[in-house]
């Protein structure tokens, strides 16, 4: 769906700006820069306000993300269960650091806080699906499924 088509579904919804951001994020995995002015016009608010809202929430990224989004939970239960080792294994497998996207645009790696799977820490999510009880050894095989 085009940005315009998505935005037009929410312009009359109360509090629809964030709903529209969710819908754009679902479709594009990010908030393209070009969406900001379109949203501002649809909701009749300054672009700065749209930018302020979009950047407040860690789920949204104004700009680009790769086609697969990996998030590594770094909250305390996952931290104690070895999240740093899992993160290091992912970083070395992909050749990028947290916050970066691979050159081929296939993966973006981000850090996140608790995703509610702390009974099976450490947890990462790939495209919002949790993968739990991870070890550095399991990382290469898991990532290969998304290559």
């Amino acid at each position: 769906m085009t940005l315009d088509a998505i935005i037009s579904q929410y312009r009359d919804v109360e509090g629809g700006l964030i709903e529209a951001l969710h819908a754009i994020d679902n479709e594009y995995r990010c908030i393209p820069e070009s969406a900001l002015s379109k949203l501002a016009e649809a909701f009749d608010v300054p672009v700065a306000k749209v930018y302020g809202v979009a950047t407040f929430y860690a789920k949204f990224k104004v700009g680009e993300r790769g086609s697969n989004l990996i998030r590594v939970c770094e909250s305390a239960p996952c931290h104690n269960a070895g999240a740093a080792l899992v993160l290091a294994a992912i970083e070395s497998n992909l050749g990028i650091k947290a916050g970066e996207t691979t050159a081929d645009g296939r993966f973006t790696l981000e850090l996140t806080e608790c995703v509610g799977c702390c009974n099976e820490s450490p947890t990462i999510t790939i495209n919002e699906v949790p993968y739990t009880k991870l070890t550095p050894e399991k990382v290469p095989e898991l990532l290969s499924k998304f290559r």
């Binding site: 909701f43 305390a76 104690n80 996140t112 509610g116």
Partner: protein, 409 residues
């Protein structure tokens, strides 16, 4: 397992009904409480909830019936709202997810009863963005209940959070539903008087609403007689960390932490020794073994400087270094502070930097003392509970695990 204190009210149908089937829930007596409530005068429903003495399960322990009564007695509002706080952002907590994905209709029923009680025809469930499956389960259950005419004129909508811990604070949550940055409001006015879009609004936690059908069904006296008198009923706990049984348990509120960790939880993994437990998520206190015989009810916990909070029980064995753990927690708050008030914006940043300095062995006793002063300033002056409670893990570990700090100075 030699643990026989489990008692299920919130999770009484968990695993026993098909979450996607409204019929299944109805066949188990589901929505009978809504029918019963609708045959009662709204004020009588509020009174019943008041008499049950149920207090909020989302962290602050505010009496639910009292909260409802403020909003119920407002008669000149053209619209009121019932809002469910399903932001569940405290690390180590997954109790609300169990309700939303296991017994979504029970939450919906509790909210519909609240709608009748306070005179609201519209409700919102603000569910964290990390839980797409919960949102799906709720949306489906709501659509089905509406289609079957079960909800009458009560309209219910799910709104998704977007990975911001502060949006669990009720006024930040309201801001977020309205489509703004999730920054807490100045109080008063409280949401009960001027909440969502300025209208009278009650905000309660998932577990709070999920208790309501059973209270209406069995009566206030039944509920008030369970567990601790000042915080009756049950509480759902979620276990994580170095404990054998990393799972959930629902128990009356007069059991002790020791019973939860050792009798139910099976003790520490690999035969190691217990060192510490944090209760209530990242903003909760971290305590040593000597305090484990404290009952888990809200007031008993407050008496030892703890919060029951969400019921997250994060267990740490003898190998865990409190400086390392607290550094991780301070990073969380530094990231999650919304930046609206200075004590929290600056304070969370400074506490995180301070913990890094201690962890690197670069801090001295003066630095530690300055951090303790800063922590007290945050407790007293931050705008919302985030900044007020953020120093808690630091403060409690300095108090109970001083050796971990001393050896780095």
């Amino acid at each position: 397992m030699g643990f026989n204190k489990e008692k299920r009210i919130v999770l009484r149908h968990y695993g026993l009904v098909n979450p996607t089937s409204t019929e299944d829930y109805v066949n188990k007596g589901g929505y009978d409480a809504l029918k019963k409530a609708k045959a009662m005068q709204p004020m009588d429903v509020v009174e019943e909830v008041k008499k049950s003495n149920i207090r909020g399960r989302g962290g602050a322990g505010f009496p639910t019936g009292l909260k409802w009564s403020f909003t119920a007695k407002i008669t000149d509002a053209d619209q009121k709202y019932v809002v469910c706080n399903a932001d569940e952002g405290e690390p180590g907590t997954y109790k609300d997810r169990l309700v939303m994905e296991g017994v979504p209709h029970q939450l919906i029923e509790g909210m519909a009863i609240a709608g009748h009680a306070i005179g609201a025809t519209k409700g919102y469930i603000y569910c964290r963005g990390e839980y797409p499956n919960s949102q799906k389960a709720l949306r489906q259950a709501i659509a089905d209940a509406k289609a079957k005419g079960i909800l009458g004129d009560f309209d219910l909508e799910v709104r998704s959070g977007a990975f911001a811990y502060v949006c669990g604070e009720e006024t930040a949550l309201i801001e977020s539903i309205e489509g703004h940055r999730g920054e807490p409001r100045y109080k008063p006015p409280y949401p009960g008087v001027a909440g969502l879009w300025g209208k009278p609004t009650i905000v309660n936690n998932v577990e709070t609403y999920a208790n309501i059908p059973a209270i209406i069904e069995n009566g206030a006296d039944w509920f008030a007689g369970i567990g601790a008198g000042n915080y009756p009923g049950t509480k759902v706990f979620t276990l994580s960390g170095d404990v054998v049984n990393k799972t959930f348990v629902e128990v009356p509120t007069d059991v002790t932490l020791r019973e939860i960790i050792f009798d139910f939880g099976g003790g520490i993994v690999d035969g190691k020794r217990f060192k510490a437990v944090q209760v209530g998520g990242n903003s909760g206190g971290i305590i040593p073994e000597e305090l484990l015989d404290t009952p888990i009810d809200f007031d008993a916990m407050s008496n030892i400087g703890m919060t029951l909070g969400t019921g997250a029980v994060f267990v740490m064995d003898e190998t865990r270094d409190m400086v390392d753990v607290v550094k991780c927690m301070m990073k969380f708050f530094e990231h999650e502070s919304c930046g609206k008030c200075t004590p929290c914006r600056e304070g969370t940043f400074r506490l995180f930097k301070g913990m890094c300095k201690i962890a690197n062995g670069e801090a001295n006793a003066n630095d530690l003392a300055t951090m303790e002063t800063l922590a007290r300033v945050m407790n007293k002056t931050a705008l919302c509970g985030l900044g007020q409670a953020a120093p808690t893990p630091f403060q409690t570990t300095v108090r109970y695990f001083a050796a971990d700090y001393q050896k780095r100075l």
